[in-house]
């Protein structure tokens, strides 16, 4: 196998592993193509740590050659000096855990470090662990994922009258980032769609993402229109949007960029829907942070959380400086605006930014959680993620290549999905009864998105997934999470379905740092988890009692 060439030392004895919340332990370290395996020497209750190399964001090594300062007392023999040398590898993981390995022997240490460094950032998707993950109790599924656009459409009878399923993109030629089937207004034929696609960045023409049963209004999403500097227009695009609001007096467009940003986008060929061509659409601009700025915010936040200076002022100003909570607030309030348009004002909305693959998904997902009780069950939520993030294509591979510790130069990394999970956590905290799943599910997703046994978050689009046969050759995380044991573990014991919209408070005082994630590896968060665990166990016990 090709991994072998990266592994010069596969086994080291007498390694000390230090990890948060546990006493250090001594044992054997193994490096395989995808894992770092540490097993305790203790016979009685031996512990093993299995870490996906993919989970490692950055490593630091320091080699201590004791001959350096034992030179003064040079009685030590050469061999003693050699064995005295050792090294320490600090591994900073994408799930924010920091582990440390003390490895005897300088050369072994350097070899291990080199293997970790190389193997943890191999780029080749088809060599990644999900393609090798074959648990004994699980055979590869017949159906990958929870649903498909086709199934989703067939279940939504309300749609049949005015909406149709178009397969114009069946070979991904119209829009490489869309799934083969999308829902569009019935009155618009595929040729019109093809032309409209040419007018939208990346071919992402407006498609339906949510139908509000209460009043028949919809959320559409797309990418920015390609007006360019000379204000091109596209009749077909206008027709398509016109068809969306047929029978209604107007619609709203929420542009996730500031007015100024949207105007500047014209210089690079993009733009926004001008009033003169889309006269029945009212546009709002809400500037949302994306890309690099968001990644830097995460880096600063994680740095602040790891700050050990024990100074309250410094902590609070670092927290403020990171701006992370402002991004949370902004995302929730923009989603709130979207819900207001659909639910209160009773109009349809089109959401887009530039590419329509990041912020647009973020706020359309949050809006659906706020409005639609069906999205708040565990299946509903995972289904929502599948529709909005997997099928509608968030470029996970690019966005989650690195997390907060990486020294590598930032490219396409951005924690948009993590920001979504944080916002959902804020909702869960404000409405502890309304969501069918618990914080544990959000934590699991936050870990899996960066490094996983499953194929769900591989690749950047449906097209790439097909090319690599992800759906045939890997397991699906969402399906795994819905197996009975896992489902018990991740469901919210306090859940009580409410039909009402859950309007989050976005006052700065109401939003909190997501300690369960960002301070997960510190002692005090554990106590809270224990209390939650206690409740969860009680509920699981009842379930058993009820069945017996």
């Amino acid at each position: 196998m090709e991994f072998a060439e990266h592994i010069k030392t596969a086994n080291v004895e007498d390694v000390v592993l230090r990890q948060p919340l546990q006493p250090p332990s001594r044992g054997t370290l193994c490096i395989t193509g995808h894992h770092l395996l540490f097993s305790d020497r203790e016979e009685s209750d031996s512990r093993q740590v299995l870490l996906l190399l993919r989970n490692i964001d950055a490593i630091e090594k320091s080699v201590e050659n004791l001959t350096g300062y034992s030179g003064f007392f040079s009685n030590a023999s050469h061999s003693e000096r050699m064995s005295g040398s050792s090294g320490t590898i600090t591994m900073k993981c994408k799930d924010l855990r920091v582990l440390q390995l003390d490895i005897p022997g300088m050369e072994q240490c350097l070899n291990i470090a080199h293997s970790i460094e190389t193997l943890s950032c191999l780029d080749c998707v088809s060599a990644m662990y999900p393609f090798f993950y074959r648990p004994v109790d699980l055979s590869l599924p017949e159906q990958w994922g929870l649903s498909s656009p086709e199934m989703h459409y067939s279940q939504m009878k309300e749609l049949y009258e005015k909406w149709r399923l178009s397969t114009v993109n069946r070979d991904y030629s119209v829009c490489p980032s869309y799934p083969p089937a999308v829902i569009v207004p019935k009155s618009i034929d595929d040729d019109t769609l093809k032309k409209a696609a040419k007018f939208r960045q990346g071919g992402r023409f407006p498609v339906l993402c949510y139908y509000h049963k209460k009043n028949g209004m919809v959320i559409m999403r797309s990418s920015q229109p390609l007006l360019g500097a000379n204000r091109k227009r596209c009749k077909e695009d206008e027709l398509l949007l016109q068809a969306v609001i047929e029978g209604s007096d107007k619609g709203y467009i929420i542009d996730t960029r500031s007015m100024q940003q949207a105007q500047q986008a014209r210089m690079t060929g993009g733009g926004f829907e001008s009033k003169s061509f889309y006269d029945r659409w009212k546009r709002f601009h809400r500037q949302m942070e994306r890309g690099k700025a968001l990644q830097e915010s995460l880096i600063k936040l994680v740095e602040a959380c790891g700050d050990e200076s024990n100074n309250m002022d410094r902590w609070l100003s670092k927290l403020e400086n990171s701006k992370w909570l402002s991004h949370v607030q902004n995302a929730l309030s923009t989603a709130g605006l979207l819900v207001e348009c659909v639910e209160r004002d009773g109009h349809s909305v089109l959401v887009h930014g530039s590419e329509g693959t990041d912020c647009s998904l973020l706020i359309s997902t949050l809006a659906q959680l706020i409005m639609d009780p069906c999205c708040r069950t565990m299946e509903g939520f995972l289904g929502l993620l599948e529709r909005e993030w997997i099928q509608a294509r968030h470029p996970f591979q690019q966005r989650c290549a690195h997390s907060a510790y990486s020294h590598a130069r930032l490219q396409q990394e951005s924690p948009v999905f993590l920001l979504l999970l944080d916002c959902v956590w804020q909702l869960w905290r404000q409405f502890p009864l309304a969501l069918g799943f618990s914080e544990a599910l959000l934590l699991r997703l936050a870990t899996e998105v960066y490094a996983s046994d499953y194929g769900t978050f591989l690749c950047n689009s449906d097209q790439e997934r097909c090319a690599l046969e992800v759906k045939e050759r890997t397991h699906c995380l969402f399906r795994a999470l819905l197996r009975p044991t896992e489902r018990d573990y991740y469901s919210n014991p306090l859940y009580e379905r409410t039909e009402l919209a859950i309007w989050p408070s976005v006052h700065p005082q109401s939003l909190q740092l997501w300690k369960g994630y960002f301070l997960r590896w510190t002692q005090q968060v554990r106590h809270l988890e224990e209390a939650q665990e206690e409740i969860r166990n009680m509920v699981i016990e009842w379930g058993k009692l009820a069945r017996s």
Binding site: M312, R314, E320, A434, Q509, S510, H527
Partner: protein, 554 residues
């Protein structure tokens, strides 16, 4: 009594106004009749479906009035941080009401306060005034050690006006020596026992600062007294709650600290805990930040930071952990003092006990702690809690010392959600009653003042009310599982949270959180029920098995 009632009548210019509109947080607007009595502001709509407002005048921190035409708006800001609005038609009525409220809410005379007029509408099961007598607490101590005795040297409060009549001191010291020591300590607060750590016999004492002055006065009896608490060959720690330079400056005013030369067996540690007006300002800034209506996250976080409240919480907790560490980990005795020994000293000694002693984490144990370390130890509640965060008057002796203590307890409770028998509501309740109450518990500044006011005879104790099944049920923590261990809270800034239950209580509806809490209580109760059922079924099965030998044959 009749003259007192006369006095109230003089202050109430307009006892009653109709058609007043009331706005209060999380409740529908009510229109009704406003009545002023000697102690209450009452608004009633005389309809069954609306809740009446009964507000103690002593709960009112400040009021503001403004007019729009002849419609007057009175904003009432309460010491429990609630803000309510009254709309009154008619300028004269409005002005009269406002000035009456102002006068009634700032009455200084203790004997006119509501607790002296309040008659309980509930059955007193156990008189709270007798629940925590020092002699009873001492019985527990006697069962653990014979090295201490209860001294009556202060029985007429003449030696130390802020101490209770009975204090625990080392057995070998007679009252004459104590009298000499008292002259050497600020306010006569000679070192007394605050806590005995059963596990290793170490003790925590507290005192006022030693009066060394600029020329380094010493007092042999003081040195002997505290040395008597050390085991042979062991050292002790003196925790001074002031920064070293503050302690140095105190010398100029006759105070000071224990010099190494005179106390060679003691190591002194200085910790800077803020006091008085600095704390009061911190509270004012914090509450202002919490009520800020702007939507800017940056602004909120920098205002929170600028208030310094969380820093104060952290410093107090850190010092308490230090004291607890000296006792439990280092196996050393500790003496805690600052200047007077009535504020930061008590914060540290009482929090250290919560960390060390599981007994203090029960409902009764916590009451007993508040009684011992705050009420009898002479924290001047009357002065400290005269005004809260909304007051416009210049602060004199006001300081949220007790509130900070409660905040610290909440932080520990949050970090150890299963180790406390009581819940957050109990802490909030103590905060409210420390500032305004129908009960006499927090009246007065010391045991001496309380004795002079005959509080046990003339007022009802808060504990009498709390220690009834229906109240206790509301205040107990459903997750409680006795934990006999020392609990070490994390004091990293990242671990400390803003106490929303007090500071954001009136800005954010807690409806959903309360529902979740109810649901959790429900789950736990149902679980208990099921467990008893399982147990009784098991018993039945066992019985059947013994009765019917056939069951044993396969």
């Amino acid at each position: 009594m009749s003259t007192e009632i006369m006095e109230f009548a003089e202050l109430i210019k307009t006892p009653r106004v109709d058609g007043v509109v009331l706005h209060r947080p999380f409740m529908p607007t009510v229109e009704g009749t406003l009545c002023l009595t000697g102690h209450h502001l009452i608004l009633s709509s005389r309809q069954d479906n609306t809740e009446e407002l009964w507000l103690l005048h002593s709960n009112i921190d400040s009021i503001e009035k403004r007019f729009v035409g002849s419609l007057g708006h009175i904003t009432v800001k309460c010491k429990d941080l609630r803000v309510i609005q009254l709309e009154i038609t008619g300028m004269e009525e409005c002005l009269n009401i406002a000035s009456s409220i102002e006068a009634l809410s700032t009455l200084d005379l203790v004997s006119l306060m509501y607790p002296f007029f309040y008659r309980p509408m509930f059955e007193v099961i156990e008189d709270g005034w007798n629940s925590f007598l020092p002699q009873n607490a001492f019985k527990d101590l006697e069962s653990m050690t014979d090295e201490w005795r209860l001294s009556e040297v202060n029985k007429d409060f003449s030696l130390c006006p802020s101490y209770p009549p009975l204090v625990a001191v080392p057995k070998d010291f007679d009252d004459e020596t104590l009298k000499k020591v008292a002259t050497f300590r600020h306010g006569g607060r000679f070192p007394v026992l605050s806590y005995y750590h059963k596990k290793n016999g170490m003790v925590m004492m507290r005192a006022g600062q030693p009066l060394t002055g600029t020329n380094g006065r010493r007092c042999k009896e003081d040195e002997k007294l505290i040395n008597a608490t050390l085991r042979p060959g062991k050292r002790g720690y003196i925790i001074d709650t002031r920064a070293i330079n503050v302690a140095q400056q105190a010398k100029a005013r006759g105070g000071g600290f224990e010099l190494e030369a005179n106390y060679p067996q003691w190591r002194r540690i200085h910790k800077a805990i803020e006091r008085y007006n600095v704390l009061q300002e911190s509270l004012i800034k914090l509450v202002e930040a919490c009520n800020d209506q702007s939507h800017s996250m940056d602004r909120w976080l920098s205002k929170l930071e600028a208030s310094n409240w969380q820093t104060n919480v952290k410093e107090i907790l850190t010092t308490a952990c230090l004291a607890a560490q000296c006792i439990d980990r280092e196996g050393a005795s500790v003496l805690v003092h600052g200047t007077e020994g009535t504020d930061s000293t008590l914060q540290v000694t009482s929090l250290a006990q919560i960390i060390l002693d599981p007994g203090c984490r029960t409902v009764k144990g916590f009451q007993s702690l508040v009684e011992r370390e705050w009420l009898q130890a002479g924290h001047p509640f009357q002065q400290r809690c005269a005004q809260s965060a909304f007051s416009n008057s210049k602060p004199r002796h006001e300081a949220p010392v007790f509130l900070l203590f409660l905040d610290c307890v909440w932080q520990i409770l949050r970090q150890f959600p299963c180790s406390f028998e009581f819940n957050e509501s109990f802490l909030v309740l103590l905060f409210e009653h420390a500032y305004a109450s129908q009960f006499g518990t927090f009246l007065g500044n010391s045991a001496a003042e309380r004795a002079r006011l005959c509080l046990p005879e003339k007022t009802v104790s808060l504990w009498s009310w709390v220690n009834r099944p229906q109240e206790l049920e509301r205040l107990t923590n459903p997750l409680y599982e006795p934990n006999s261990l020392v609990i070490w809270p994390s004091v990293a800034p990242q671990s400390l949270l803003l106490w929303e239950g007090v500071f954001l209580r009136w800005n954010r509806s807690s409806k959903c959180l309360d529902e979740a809490y109810e649901e959790m209580v429900h789950i736990i109760e149902y679980n208990k029920e099921l467990q008893t059922k399982v147990n009784s079924l098991r018993r039945q099965l066992a019985q059947l098995e013994t009765e019917d030998p056939l069951l044993h044959t396969p």
